[in-house]
Subunit: 337 residues, 4 copies
């Protein structure tokens, strides 16, 4: 399988889902190797760079794309299989930005308190040990943490003619910020517009669940992804909200506020998915999943919060989702590595 | 170490934290072997028993206790180390109850829709395979699920003279419904009244994160627990909200609504705990934990929702919490097994 | 009609609903003239008194009561008609307290920011003009505001054996903080325990809707109230949540978090009330009320938020609630003034 | 003053804010007389028309516009003064639509219950009495309700290149659904794109606060509005969120979820506005407004909820907002009536 390499120039960065002309057209079955800049568009390069001085808020969370998928029509299901994610720089950056994050007031959870101190941390990457290093500002602690690459943001053009900031997650995907979006994962997204127009970015060298301070170890990333398309999947139980699959689990992601609604969306979507896969009545699926799901929070910091619900497939009867496309893509991916 | 066995009679069941005379007084260092009834007080014994007919809502979530701990005073920290949890019956019960659960309107998320159909599932326990069996109502699926015993409810008498239903979790612990409350875990709770007056119950043979439908595989449980007391822990960084520790992790639990506030409470409590343990400035602890915490939802169904935040201790420098009391209790517990 | 006067001594102040022995037993039909201290128990007497120094947090929001109502049994409806509320001091106090209020992080909406500056405002009462005077701290503005007396807190002992802080509103009433609780209003509360055990306090010389900063113009108050009892009202459509009636409106109050749930509770309770009064199907009542209700927020600062829904009775057909008890009490009250 | 009349054809209806070419360019100072269709695009004409059958969900909440305002640049403040709103048909329609409304689960507050029964109510307009008539479906009640015309939706193109559904309110205005948007009101909106690109629609012949069932008495409307522009208002305290002014009040509108965040946004915006107008320190403005604001909920049904905070100007010192533009527009409007 050939791999098409795309490295956008800064003027090609996309900052919305929808509303951007396609960067390229790809055929289903294509493998792409995509470079994406970090969420700050590379503006923070030292621990003395403050986000308030350096970060251009009109250029945060740049996406690589969008890609027009040939033949994709509304109601189809776009399939993105992540083969590899490789740090594209030797350092990542994280920041506590004024009025952004989970343990601070924000423009939406509006209060009168002063902001937290604008602070930047640079994490040097040790490729040999595959770690990034946390360096405390106010004490001597240095701590090597395992690299666990993931993409914060993957999505398609929204429905209804909307154009949404790349900072917001919703039914179209977007800035979900879940560590589940990692190599080995297949992502299913409902197609809303001809060509699907997907893009991705917001590489994280690692991130805790919740993304508490609002930023992960943000880093430029090279992502290898195989693109597939399921035609007419809507009638076959296509996803209303983003679904993920890996070798061990089925995963759904809901995004809304308050956080319980994000969870409700994800839990109900998994009730639907598992119910359809296994021919279960909704109440039986609801009951069964109540005893077996895991529910790691994705983010509590974006304009919509995201919550993940997942189930280990080894707890369920064998029934490959979408005709076993994940396993097939895993096999294809193996030829790329 | 001696083990004191307590099996309450039904008229001794406690349905509140606070407001109940102590069942027994125990000295710090005591091991207890406590039988607790299931959350329905044993009312559901067959899949044709409907909660609307059989469950007495004034007798749900019975607790075994309270226990007066000698010498415990407000500001101290109660330490409960869970040695073992053994199913005390050969079956567990779960139910979708009208207007209770995560994917239904409730008395608090009040709507006008009809309730979901009142439905009961009985899970037979296979002690040899250590599984419980899900049996679908509307199809033929039967599925053996691993037993993973835990307690939904552990708490002390609340502060401020309050008496709270055993259905509600809050700063005093209570009905947190997190699978983290399992054998091998040490639970730290702030003492609010002389004697602490802790109780426990709500055994689950297994439960998914979120406890989506409102009930786990509810079962009578025999719990072996060692009781300890840390004097004056408030000044040493005692817990404001429940903290848990096991061999791998430090864990905090927040309970409130909306769910993001439960998470905020837990995340901030862990910022404090890790900050104190490692001498980190709050912003450094906030940043570090943003990259390493896990955030599994506990419940989205109780009067307060509960959210867990945890960090693997092998990602942090070595620094035993509370003088290493968890390791010491693990060693003591080993002599009981 | 005789009026029984009660002025509690500080050691008689009640700080919970439930859990307190009755201050006095009263017969239905009794008029009471009750003195209540301000929410700070009188601790703030000058604009230089800071809440952090002066306010004893174990003694905030003192209630006058509880009163045991003869013959009141669970399921009955307690009726409290407010005849008069008179400022009992010549000044009121308000404060921005650290980590308390609507535009600050709190112990439940937990963040890492510094608190707002602890600040106290004293409002002198001008009895002749019936105004209180706002005096700015940081500029020269002085502003006379009309006195509009109300009670922040009115409630009965909770159900289920619970004892709740006087700071929290819930189905039992409590700290709802709505300006609707004013002279001329009749309050209906479901009786949960024998004797009802109602108490009241938290006088406000005036308060904006939402009680944004967390405290109103807090003042000692003398409240004249007539006590009545509706027997067996549960079967006749007694209130599940607090209901209010005045000459112009029917009002319901819901209390929970998030705020939309408080509103949902109140809106559904009014759908029930108006539906029963006018023989309307729930969907017709839902539709009709959607076009005519007012929805002033009560508080966004307490442990539960409170939201009011009201409907002007002149928009509806004539149908006196509860057999016209409000009009009858208005007539009786007139003989007291 | 001339009045420019605009009646869009159905193919000219706008269903988003942003993303639509201007319908017309207008100069500041222009008066417009705009016809807008109802929120169902006229699809419900009888009480037997069900929304599920008749309403095209891709064509709900049509807007008239957008209008390009000459000279408007990002950071300026658009001023829309509403002179008159006249029902343009002799009937309005309202509906309980499946999974839409405040007392039902929705696609975002996702549950498993069945929807409420799809039901439509037609309100005949009596122009002589200026009433609309509620007709119950399930009983004989007919009730004449006063007409109180308002616009549910008024907004400009969003910032950041976003295009948003006309169903959602946010900082750009949009579907706020507040009865404050009525004749005599001046609306201030921050300009985000050259020309501002405002549109309006969603006429309501009357609406209760909260818009509980999700739809008001929806009707085609003829709105007379005068357009003005404040240049460079950002530096002079221009609005971050929609501000309204009428002869009696200053009003702010916040839109988000949960509802307390909508309220927080509005309350803080009013703290800023009143603070700037009267030279008050934020803490003094916070305190003063806590005692005088009204807080009527706008909607609890849209993708973002909206909450209003208002203050009667007669409670404050005299200080005309924005140089008295409201009074000036009132005077100009008088010449149009």
């Amino acid at each position: 399988m050939d791999v098409v390499e795309v490295i956008p120039s800064p003027d090609q960065y996309a900052f919305t889902f929808g509303g951007v002309a396609p960067l390229r057209t790809v055929r289903p079955g294509t493998a792409l190797r995509l470079w994406s800049d970090d969420a700050f568009s590379g503006a923070l390069t030292s621990a003395t760079d403050l986000s308030g001085d350096k970060v251009d808020l009109s250029r945060v969370n740049p996406q690589t794309g969008p890609f027009h998928v040939e033949g994709a029509e509304p109601g189809d299901t776009l399939v993105l299989h992540f083969v590899a994610m490789e740090p594209a720089r030797d350092w990542g950056a994280s920041a506590v930005m004024p009025f952004f994050g989970g343990l601070t007031s924000t423009e939406r959870t509006a209060m009168l308190q002063e902001p937290l101190a604008d602070t930047t941390w640079i994490y040097e990457l040790d490729r040999a040990r595959n770690t990034v290093e946390f360096v405390a500002h106010h004490s001597d602690l240095r701590l090597a943490l395992p690299v666990a690459p993931m993409l914060g943001t993957v999505g398609v053009a929204p429905a209804g003619g909307e154009v949404r900031s790349s900072l917001v997650p919703d039914a179209f995907g977007g800035n979900m910020d879940t560590p589940q979006m990692r190599p080995g994962t297949t992502c299913y997204l409902r197609v809303n517009v001809p060509g699907a127009l997907f893009s991705l970015g917001d590489g994280h060298y690692r991130q805790g669940e919740g993304e508490a301070c609002g930023t992960a170890v943000e880093g430029a990333m090279t992502t290898t992804v195989v693109v597939e398309l399921l035609k007419g999947a809507d009638s076959l139980g296509g996803p209303a909200w983003p679904r993920l699959e890996d070798d061990a689990s089925l995963v759904t992601v809901g995004s809304s506020r308050p956080l319980e609604d994000a969870w409700r969306i994800a839990q109900r979507e998994l009730v639907r998915w598992v119910g359809e896969l296994h021919g279960l009545h909704p109440l039986d699926a609801y009951q069964l999943l109540s005893q077996v799901t895991e529910a790691p929070i994705a983010n509590v910091v974006d304009v919509n919060y995201s919550s993940v619900v997942k189930v280990r497939t080894d707890l369920l009867p064998h029934a490959p989702a979408y005709g076993g496309v994940h396993a097939e893509l895993r096999a294809r991916a193996a030829t790329l590595l």
